[in-house]
């Protein structure tokens, strides 16, 4: 069975339905009698709503109902929540404004939800929405952080009069300042981490349904975590108690963080389904996705790195402004704080670190976790600073990194994290060999002979995954525990159903989770089915984000399998008439130590249910176990990516010529799937570095609201990737897994920018490094070179 077990590049079980058009996404679901919802959105970034005239719209053909913020308020529907409490430097709580599912009195960004029209068809709902007359009193808008923090700027929320949502710090300020005072050299860098729009290919969608007979609600939703959605919609928004509320997230077409959150649209659909007593369906069009999906990144940072006379790093000091947008999305507050600053030590031994973060309200879409969530921002700061410091000190960037690597484990950083295991030197060395760094000089010369500039850039990243020990995140302000749950149901014929709280939206859990079962129970993966994404089937779950499904979700399954094995051994001891202590289980077979007595897994499963061979009072019939796994530490995937690229100084076009990634994800369940995660992550990171950027104009209009304006990475923009691995098994979970989902997106942006700046010979470039920016930068480089 080893060809299907842990470590095998098994082809995915779920693929058949996707390649034959039989995937079942939310928009594919149609319920009898369903009506369609269309959201009237604010065309203004900031305005008071003086009045809304629905008379013409209500009379339009097919209209079932139109609701506004007044109806939400009258029904006492709770506001959308932010689930992580952050405290200011002075200990006071963050200054949160309200977040109603439909605007109440004021709109705060273009795309804000003003009213919902429910009609027999979508076309009728759209047509009717055009007849709604909203009288706005347009207010000045603050479209970026600089405008929002200017003295006298208009307040997005009265609760935060100067648009400062919080002012937070981490680390030893005095100690860090003292280290800087003694530094031999200080490297300073101003950094913009550009705002991104996640763009899962499946737009968000929801179908709400009410069953009058049982007084029960059902929500089909594009969610990475249906149980969390149910918890929030029940306990906080108050739509129905959990036992009368079913949330189903079927096939979901990509998430990247943007489908973690509980949004206005699904809240309104399921609430309205009860109001109109019909199923209510909504599917975003792409521009709605651009306008209203939570965006990512958007940091402005000043960072400083202190080094001593031996080229050793002595301190790091970071001051960051983070854009929250107009409202707080579900986990927005945690991203630029606890998912960011604790990663600022990178792979390096840095004795003193201090970070301060100011979060700012603006009249833009909410900003929250996007692939990597805080860790790409931290990695960009660290890896750009390290690279520039090496250049300033005249050192080889790889050797400067190596000289400052953490080499002893466990390693306690000054910013919370305790790195458990790793070998950073090994991944750097392997990456250099795979990349043929030694041949770079010759390749650069060959490029130069064609009039091209060639550059090479490193990124040695670390991230924290497997989130997370519940008590630890609770002490940092999280509103939830971050365990995972699993149930293993063995059927009488020995096939197995795994019910998991993790959710797959591209990660391949139906295959990898089955591989774990195959390895443990010795059965083919076709005899295992993975059940997820339905709160009526799976008891509980925290969902999939932060690269946690392997390290936490599979650890829960592993723990439940331990219990299955223990119970099955008891059954086997009766069947094989031996003492329990003499029963051994290996490769799907129960044997009695020192004898040739044996029984396979299937026959023991059958005996567990027949229950003829044992006393049902002393040993319960059946074979079904469940477990919750609460991690004991974060996991720390790390690695080295090397980007080599060529710039055409005549056009500014950047071509990535070679990409090498060597990652340490701990033990690997399926290398094919892990490499696929790395490829996709790199593509998103290269997109951030070269192509993507959300642009609002000064009035708060989103200029990049379609694929004709927002540059998505296409096949032609990207190279093939050279992916390798080193392995140090993670000691804090039974499978030794660290997590691989976000690494590529975390590692890649600084590798690209380090390569571009290496080619240009100066640091003056920002993301996205578009051909225009690179062309301008290349002009100043050639002038510089000509002058020298």
């Amino acid at each position: 069975m080893t060809d299907q077990g842990i470590g095998a590049p098994v082809r995915r079980k779920e693929d058949f339905r996707f390649i034959t058009g039989q995937g079942r996404y939310v928009d594919d679901i149609n319920r009898p009698g369903q009506a369609h919802a269309y959201f009237l959105r604010s065309p203004h970034a900031h305005a008071k709503i003086k009045s809304i005239d629905l008379s013409a719209a209500n009379a339009a053909p097919g209209v079932v109902a139109i609701f506004t913020g007044d109806d939400i308020a009258a029904d006492k529907v709770g506001g959308l929540i932010c689930g992580w409490a952050i405290f200011n430097k002075d200990g006071s709580p963050m200054r949160a404004g309200p977040h109603p599912a439909l605007a109440q009195g004021k709109v705060r960004y273009v795309g804000d939800h003003v009213a919902v029209v429910i009609a027999d068809t979508l076309a009728q709902a759209r047509d009717a929405a055009e007849l709604i007359n909203v009288d706005y009193d347009v207010l000045p808008a603050v479209a970026d952080m600089a405008a929002a923090r200017k003295a006298g700027a208009v307040a997005v929320h009265d609760e935060a009069p100067n648009n400062q949502f919080y002012d937070w710090e981490l680390g030893d300020k005095a100690g860090t300042d003292a280290a800087f005072a003694k530094a031999k050299h200080v490297t300073r860098l101003d950094i913009v981490n550009n705002r991104l729009i996640p763009n899962a290919m499946e737009p968000r969608a929801a179908v709400g349904e009410y069953d009058q007979g049982t007084d029960g609600l059902t929500l089909y939703t594009t969610s990475q975590n249906p149980h969390v959605a149910r918890l929030v919609l029940s306990a906080f928004i108050g739509l129905a108690p959990e036992h009368k509320f079913r949330v189903i997230a079927p096939d979901v077409g990509g998430g990247f963080g943007s489908k973690i959150f509980i949004y206005a649209e699904e809240t309104v659909c399921v609430w309205a389904a009860r109001k109109v007593n019909r199923p209510v369906k909504w599917t975003a069009d792409r521009t709605e996705s651009f306008l209203s999906d939570a965006h990512g990144r958007d940091h402005v940072t000043h960072a400083e790195l202190a080094t001593d006379e031996n080229g050793k790093i002595t301190a790091l000091r970071v001051s960051t402004k983070a854009n929250m947008g107009a409202y707080l999305s579900t986990f927005a507050s945690s991203v630029p704080t606890y998912l960011y600053a604790p990663l600022l030590s990178g792979q390096y031994n840095i004795p003193a670190i201090y970070a301060e973060v100011e979060a700012v309200y603006t009249n833009t879409a909410p900003v929250d976790a996007y692939r990597g969530a805080g860790r790409p921002e931290a990695t960009f700061v660290v890896e750009r600073l390290i690279e520039v410091a090496a250049r300033e000190l005249g050192k080889d960037p790889a050797e400067f990194r190596r000289a400052n690597f953490v080499t002893q484990f466990p390693h306690q950083t000054p910013v919370i994290m305790a790195y458990d295991v790793g070998d950073y030197d090994a991944s750097l060395t392997k990456a250099q060999q795979m990349h043929d760094v030694a041949g770079f000089a010759a390749r650069k010369a060959a490029s130069a002979s064609k009039g091209k500039l060639r550059g090479l850039g490193y990124s040695a990243y670390i991230e924290a995954c497997g989130i997370a020990p519940s008590a630890a995140v609770g002490s940092l302000g999280a509103g939830v525990g971050l365990w995972e749950s699993a149930e293993v149901r063995v059927n009488p014929i020995g096939t197995v159903e795994i019910l998991t709280g993790s959710h797959s939206h591209g990660q391949g859990h139906e295959t990898t989770f089955a591989q774990l079962v195959s390895s443990r129970l010795g059965i083919p993966i076709d005899n295992v089915s993975i059940v997820h994404g339905d709160t009526d089937k799976v008891q509980m779950g925290m969902g999939t984000y932060g690269s946690r499904s392997g390290a936490v979700g599979m650890a829960a399954i592993s723990k439940a399998l331990d219990k299955i094995e223990a119970k099955a051994k008891k059954v086997a001891s009766h069947v094989l008439e031996a003492s329990e202590g003499d029963i051994e289980f290996k490769d799907g077979k129960f044997t009695v130590k020192g004898t040739d007595k044996a029984a396979d897994f299937g026959s023991i499963a059958l005996q567990a249910y027949i229950a003829h061979k044992f006393n049902g009072q002393e040993l319960e019939p059946g074979l079904k176990e469940s477990a919750f796994w609460d991690p004991t530490n974060f996991t720390f995937p790390a690695g080295v990516h090397i980007c080599e690229l060529e710039i055409d100084p005549a056009t500014g076009v950047v071509t990535i010529e070679r990409w090498t990634a060597v990652d340490d994800f701990g033990n690997v369940i399926n290398p094919l799937i892990v490499e696929g995660q790395v490829h996709g992550g790199i593509a998103q990171g290269v997109g951030q570095a070269l192509l993507e950027g959300a642009v609002y104009d000064a009035d708060g209009q989103l200029i990049t609201a379609s694929y004709m304006d927002y540059t998505m990475p296409r096949a032609q923009d990207l190279p093939s990737y050279n992916v390798g691995m080193t392995i140090t098994p993670c000691p804090s979970n039974p499978l030794g897994i660290k997590g691989c989902g976000e690494a590529g997106a975390i590692a890649s942006p600084p590798a690209v920018i380090n390569a571009i700046t290496n080619a240009l010979g100066h640091e003056n470039i920002t993301m996205p490094a578009t051909p225009e920016k690179v062309w301008r930068a290349a002009q100043s480089s050639s002038h510089k070179q000509a002058a020298e």
Binding site: R12, Y25, Q716
Partner: protein, 162 residues
């Protein structure tokens, strides 16, 4: 309402539709063939690609009435006689999909690329020809490999038939 008739996956279908009905909605809502997806509404992402009279078309920006009388193939009609199309096989074998949402359009475009360009496709050609299809999950690496393999398999199949 306007009457529209066409052949979809070898089956004659007709219906009275609102004249503004897009081909993708006719396929998804009237025929309940939900393998064809809407990803962007602006002909950019290619999740909605189907074949109309043998050519790749973006069904999200095609009115159903304009293909009246045509023969349409969707992803559901690609496998023949219970056997996967070589391009479908190649996507599975090369892990050319993750969330699966762009996949039907990718496969339909890939088959069209081979139909137009032949079975011997190099990487640069495949990447260039994929300009109208966006994937957010795979970084394209395995899609490009899959299309190369699928093209070769289609070429082999064609040679065997001749």
């Amino acid at each position: 309402m306007t009457k529209v008739s066409m052949t979809v996956n070898g089956k004659a279908v007709s219906a009275d539709v609102d004249p503004r009905t897009l081909l993708v909605h006719f396929i998804r809502d009237n025929l309940r063939l939900t393998g064809t997806h809407v990803g962007c509404d602006t002909s950019q992402c290619g999740a909605c690609v189907v074949h109309v009279d043998g050519q790749a078309v973006k069904s999200c920006t095609t009115l159903a009435v304009t293909v009246d009388g045509s023969s349409v193939t969707t992803i559901e009609g690609l496998a023949q006689g219970g056997k996967l199309h070589p391009m479908q096989e190649a996507f599975r074998e090369n892990h050319g999909l993750q969330c699966g949402f762009c996949t039907p359009g990718m496969i339909m475009s890939a088959v069209d690329i081979v139909n137009r360009k032949g079975a011997g496709l190099d990487e640069a050609t495949i990447r260039h020809e994929l300009e109208g299809n966006i994937c957010r999950c795979t970084g394209y690496h395995n899609i490009v490999k899959a299309i190369g393999d699928g093209a070769a398999a289609m070429g082999g199949q064609k040679a065997a038939a001749e």
